[in-house]
């Protein structure tokens, strides 16, 4: 089991009221699975994604990733797990505007350690070529289309060869045709054996996954398999 969670909860203390975003989520994901986490906004799916992506820690409960209990980790170790185990694909791409695509894609390797600049760039170029952006290496994000930006973002997520690809509404900012192209890339990656987790409220997107987990009110409401 690549991912296993036990009774994850997350509460935010907002002074007057305590908001309980997660109320006990227990599930698992096997290596190589293609999973969609679904739910309307406010359901807690974003909080779950942040915890799965090691950007946040649960209030209670346990989270095992690749055999490590990451719910026990903090600061530096968590940063290292994000760097080595997780590749993020964001809805709004989140590329650095001031540098070219190679530098953007090489960014996770900068924090990886043990690689010089030339090696990092070489690996970034390879990742960009794998998503069909070999001809856009020196371009800055604002010189590219939305689809190209999302591909660059996928290249960045893949460059460290992480265990999990975590895609948060990957087609949310794209038109339908481009969205299908991006989903095509994710499908290919899944077929090649990558573990892909989609976080979406869009059932058309979720339909690409072979398994869906629906979150409502901070708990798992339904699970289904395609």
């Amino acid at each position: 089991m690549l991912i296993r969670t036990e009774e994850l909860t997350k509460s935010y203390d907002l002074g007057a009221a305590e908001v309980r975003a997660l109320r006990g989520v227990t599930f698992g994901i096997e290596e190589g699975e293609y999973v969609a986490i679904m739910g309307p906004s406010g359901s807690g799916k974003s909080t779950l994604m942040h915890i799965l992506g090691c950007l946040d820690t649960p209030s209670t409960g346990r989270y095992f990733l690749n055999g490590t209990e990451v719910s026990e980790l903090h600061g530096r170790e968590l940063a290292r797990v994000r760097n080595k185990e997780i590749g993020f694909v964001f809805q709004n791409f989140n590329l650095l505007p001031r540098v070219d695509l190679v530098a953007n894609v090489a960014l996770p390797l900068v924090y990886h350690g043990g690689m010089n600049r030339a090696e990092r760039r070489k690996q970034a170029v390879r990742a960009l070529e794998s998503v069909g952006l070999g001809h856009r290496l020196k371009h800055r994000p604002n010189e590219l289309s939305g689809g190209e930006r999302q591909r660059a973002s996928i290249a960045r997520a893949l460059v460290t060869e992480p265990s999990i690809l975590l895609a948060d509404e990957p087609t949310g900012n794209l038109d339908q045709k481009t969205g299908r192209e991006i989903m095509g890339i994710l499908d290919e990656l899944s077929k090649a054996g990558k573990t892909v987790i989609l976080v979406t409220h869009d059932s058309n997107v979720a339909a690409h996954a072979r398994r869906t987990v629906e979150i409502e009110d901070g708990t798992i409401a339904r699970e289904g398999r395609a």
Partner: protein, 417 residues
């Protein structure tokens, strides 16, 4: 993010916000320029004055003169006085380690003639040691030698003023002069030293109104006695001043059977005191300088702080992205601190350029006003200015860097989502 990339990022941020950066850097530039220019100015002026003091030739010098002993025992005591002698100098040289050089002096006023020219001059009879001891400079010919002393040679070295009075522009070396009724041959002419104008009257004219002859020739041909007028003594260093003085005093008392028929004029201490006064003026100037520098650097630092805080807020998303892909807090902290130091060091370099320019302008301005002053650019000032700038970068970059490193990545990313 390695150091080089952080530096590049700092430079890029200066480039992309030219107006903002130049306003920010203004305080640092002015502060550093002030440090460089003022350090150079104070150091240059003070250095020139130290040099003048050194040239004067009276540092670490004592004069020992004859004195009529004052004592209630009166006549008997006076009779016991033997006065300063040539032998005293030999004994002092042998016994007092602190002495670098010593010369007995026989001095008398005589009319000196050369051809049809004549004037009165002080005849200063000494050993060759006297020349380097009082730091005289040779214009032409040579100084007196030990051989001259041994042979009672009738040779003379002229002060520059005496030479001009007797010979004008003509050559003096090798010419004959008459001192009183005695024939002497000129073997050398002294040269007057260049003192800076701010040093004022150096009193060196006195040295150049003299005719210098070997001590032996002075005794035989001029004074006709073996009595010595005074000794000039140079001690090895100003640290030896007190002990040297005491030892000379004790040794002479012993040699003079406890009759205090001499007095020691402590010129060295007067020079030391004058140097200390200059030192005090310098430290007052340095105080003013560091106040100006500190104030403008603080102002510059606060400007830097505000720009860095703005920069962190503008780059929330960048920080969030970096953290999401695995940057540790430390890496973000390091990046922003290096950027801060890069910006302030850049300001420091500009300030150094400005300070060097100001220093050159001061030299130029002084020379335009007819002052013969060269103010060298102070290397210490440059180093001080640059370390000030870097210090400001570290100090005022600390808070923004900590703020950036502590940002929550989720919030930082979603702020612009």
């Amino acid at each position: 993010m390695n150091v080089l990339e952080s530096i590049a990022s700092g430079l890029a941020s200066i480039r992309s916000h030219k107006l903002r950066s130049s306003l920010t850097l203004f305080g640092i530039v002015v502060g550093v320029a002030a440090v460089v220019a003022m350090t150079s100015f104070v150091g240059g002026i003070a250095g020139r004055i130290w040099e003048d003091f050194d040239k004067l030739g009276l540092d670490n010098v004592l004069f020992v003169g004859n004195m009529r002993p004052v004592n209630p025992e009166g006549y008997a005591y006076l009779k016991a006085s033997k006065g300063l002698s040539f032998e005293d100098t030999e004994i002092l040289r042998a016994e007092v380690d602190e002495i670098l050089g010593i010369t007995p002096v026989v001095a008398d006023y005589k009319v000196v003639r050369a051809g049809s020219e004549a004037r009165r001059a002080e005849i200063f009879a000494a050993t060759p040691d006297g020349f380097y001891l009082l730091k005289f400079m040779l214009g032409q010919g040579r100084f007196l030698s030990d051989m001259d002393v041994e042979r009672n040679a009738r040779v003379a070295v002229l002060g520059e003023i005496v030479k001009e009075d007797l010979f004008g522009e003509a050559n003096a070396v090798g010419e004959d002069i008459l001192i009183g009724d005695e024939h002497f041959k000129v073997v050398g002419v002294l040269r007057q030293k260049d003192f800076s104008e701010m040093f004022g009257a150096s009193g060196q004219e006195e040295e150049h109104q003299r005719v210098y002859i070997p001590i032996t020739a002075g005794m035989y041909y001029i004074s006709g006695t073996k009595r010595i007028a005074y000794f000039a003594v140079r001690l090895k260093s100003d640290a030896d001043l007190a002990t040297g003085y005491d030892k000379i005093h004790k040794t002479l008392l012993r040699e003079h059977r406890q009759v205090e028929d001499f007095q020691i004029e402590n010129v060295a201490e007067e020079i030391l005191r004058a140097r200390q006064q200059v030192g005090q003026i310098v430290s007052v100037w340095n105080g003013i300088l560091s106040t100006i520098a500190t104030v403008s650097l603080l102002v510059g630092g606060i400007g830097l702080l505000s720009v860095l805080i703005i920069s962190v807020n503008e780059r929330l998303r960048e920080i969030g992205i970096r953290k999401a892909v695995g940057a540790e807090d430390r890496a973000i902290f390091q990046q922003f601190l290096i950027e801060s130091v890069t910006i302030s060091a850049f300001g420091g370099l500009v300030g150094i350029g400005l300070g060097v320019g100001l220093t050159k302008l001061m030299t130029f301005g002084a020379q335009q006003m007819g002052q013969d002053i060269f103010i060298p650019v102070s290397g210490g000032g440059i180093l001080l200015g640059l370390s000030f700038a870097i210090g400001v970068g570290i100090l005022f970059g600390l808070y923004p860097a900590i703020k950036a490193s502590k940002l929550d990545p989720i919030e930082a990313i979603s702020r612009y989502a």
